[in-house]
C-alpha cells in the first residue's frame, strides 16, 4: 500500500535559480528600509519648516512598522518569501562589519563584563523558565525550548536545540511564536522604559543585549535608543550567542541521559557545529581595525555598510512578524514566555544598573 504512494519529486534548484528567487524579497527589504530612511528625514524637515516640535521617529522604527503593516494587513506574497528570509544573513554580515567600530581593547573590556553578566543572565533565565514551564504544566521539551530561547538567542537557539533534543515540530513552533511575539513587544517597550529611567547609552545597550532574545530584535531595540546603544547591544548579544553551543550541548546530554535524544559522541565537533561563526568574523574585523589595517575613512565606510545591512534586517523583522499566525499557536506558551520575559527584563535591568555602577559600562 505504502509503496504505491508517489512522493513529489522536486528537481533540485540550480544556484542561479536560487539566486533569482531571492531578488524580489531582497528588493522589498531594501525598498522598505530606504522608505524608512526617507520618512525619518522628510518628516523631520517638514516639522522643522513648520516650526513643529515632534518626537524624532527613527528609520529603524519606520522600517519595522512598514514591514509589520505589509505582513499583517496584506500578507506577504509567496514571491517575496525567499528573499525576505535573507534578513538573518544581512544581520550576521552587518555584525561582522560592525567589528570595524570596536577596537579589541573595547571588546576585551566590555566583552569581559558582558560575559559575566551573560553567565548570570543565562543561569537565571534557564532556571526561572524551567520553573515556570513546570508550574504551567507545559510539555518538558517545550519548556526546554522556551528556556533556551529566552536565555540564549531566541529562534536560532530554539532551532539548534530542537535538532539536538529531538523535540517535535509543534513544540518548536509554539516556542518560536512565543519568542517572536515577545521580541516584537520589546521593540516598543524597551526604548520607552530606557528613556523613562534615563539610562545611559551603554547601560541601555547592555540591557537590550541581555534581555531581548533575538539578535535582530536586540539590535533594533538598541538602535531605537541610540547608535551607541546599538553597538553595545550587539556586543552583549554576540557574547550571549557565543555560548549557544554549551547550553545546547548540556540539554542534549540531559535528554540523551533520559533516553529521549541521541547521545552526543563528539562534543568538540558538536560545539563547533553549533558555534555561531559570525562571532569569529566580528572578532577578526575588530582585530584588523585595531592593528590599523583600515584607514579612518575605510572604517567609516565599513560602519556604513554595516548600517545598510542592518536596515535590511529591520525591514525583515517587521515583515516576518505576523500576529495572526502567532495567535493560532495558543495562549499558554505565550503566557509562560510573557511572564518569564518580564521577570528576565526586570532582573537584567537590575543587573545592568548594578554593573554600570561597579564597572562604569
Amino acid at each position: 500500500m505504502a509503496d504505491s504512494i508517489a512522493l513529489p519529486q522536486n528537481p533540485p534548484l540550480t544556484i542561479s535559480t536560487r539566486f533569482l528567487r531571492l531578488i524580489p524579497g531582497v528588493a522589498l527589504l531594501a525598498a522598505i528600509g530606504f522608505l524608512g530612511k526617507l520618512l525619518e528625514k522628510n518628516i523631520n524637515l517638514y516639522a522643522k519648516s513648520h516650526h513643529w516640535t515632534i518626537p524624532n521617529i527613527e528609520y529603524v522604527l519606520w522600517a519595522i512598522l512598514i514591514g509589520l503593516a505589509i505582513s499583517n494587513i496584506f500578507g506577504l506574497a509567496e514571491i517575496f518569501k525567499p528573499g525576505v528570509a535573507t534578513y538573518e544573513f544581512w544581520l550576521k554580515a552587518g555584525i561582522v562589519l560592525l567589528g570595524s567600530r570596536f577596537l579589541l581593547g573595547d571588546v576585551w573590556k566590555l566583552g569581559g563584563v558582558s560575559l559575566l553578566l551573560v553567565f548570570i543572565e543565562i543561569a537565571g533565565s534557564l532556571a526561572f523558565m524551567t520553573f515556570l514551564g513546570r508550574l504551567f504544566g507545559l510539555r518538558p521539551k517545550l519548556t526546554t525550548l522556551l528556556a533556551v530561547g529566552s536565555a540564549v538567542c531566541g529562534v536560532s537557539a530554539i532551532i539548534a536545540t530542537k535538532g539536538a533534543i529531538e523535540a517535535d515540530d509543534e513544540d518548536s513552533s509554539f516556542a518560536i511564536a512565543a519568542i517572536l511575539a515577545l521580541g516584537a513587544l520589546s521593540l516598543f517597550t524597551f526604548p520607552l522604559i530606557g528613556h523613562a529611567l534615563h539610562l545611559s547609552d551603554h547601560a541601555y545597550g547592555a540591557w537590550a543585549g541581555l534581555a531581548v532574545d533575538n539578535t535582530a530584535e536586540a539590535t533594533a531595540a538598541g538602535a531605537l535608543f541610540s547608535d551607541s546603544a546599538a553597538k553595545l547591544a550587539v556586543l552583549v548579544k554576540t557574547t550571549r550567542n557565543a555560548l549557544i553551543g554549551f547550553v545546547v550541548l548540556a540539554y542534549a546530554i540531559y535528554w540523551a541521559s533520559r533516553g529521549q535524544a541521541q547521545a552526543v559522541t563528539n562534543k568538540a565537533a558538536f560545539l563547533w557545529q553549533k558555534f555561531p561563526k559570525f562571532v569569529l568574523g566580528f572578532l577578526l574585523v575588530s582585530v584588523l581595525a585595531t592593528v590599523g589595517f583600515f584607514t579612518k575613512d575605510q572604517n567609516t565606510n565599513l560602519a556604513n555598510l554595516s548600517r545598510w545591512a542592518f536596515l535590511l534586517t529591520f525591514a525583515g523583522v517587521g515583515l516576518r512578524t505576523n500576529f495572526r499566525e502567532m495567535r493560532q499557536q495558543g495562549l499558554r506558551p505565550f503566557l509562560v514566555g510573557f511572564i518569564g520575559e518580564i521577570a528576565i527584563a526586570t532582573f537584567t535591568l537590575a543587573l545592568v544598573i548594578g554593573a554600570d555602577k561597579l564597572f562604569h559600562l
Binding site: I5, K92, L302, L305, R307
Partner: protein, 43 residues
C-alpha cells in the same frame, strides 16, 4: 512499514551555513573597501 523511512536522505547541496556565507561576504566587502575598489559608502 512506511516507505518514508526507507527513502535515501537527499544530500545537502549547501556546503556552507548561512553564518559562514555571511562571514565570507562581509570579509569580501571589507577587502574591497581596503583595496580601494569601493571608495565611499554613503549613509
Amino acid at each position: 512499514m512506511s516507505n518514508a523511512n526507507s527513502q535515501p536522505e537527499p544530500k545537502s547541496t549547501q556546503r556552507f551555513s548561512l553564518d559562514s556565507w555571511a562571514v565570507m561576504i562581509a570579509l569580501a566587502a571589507a577587502i574591497l573597501v581596503r583595496a580601494g575598489i569601493i571608495h565611499r559608502i554613503p549613509w
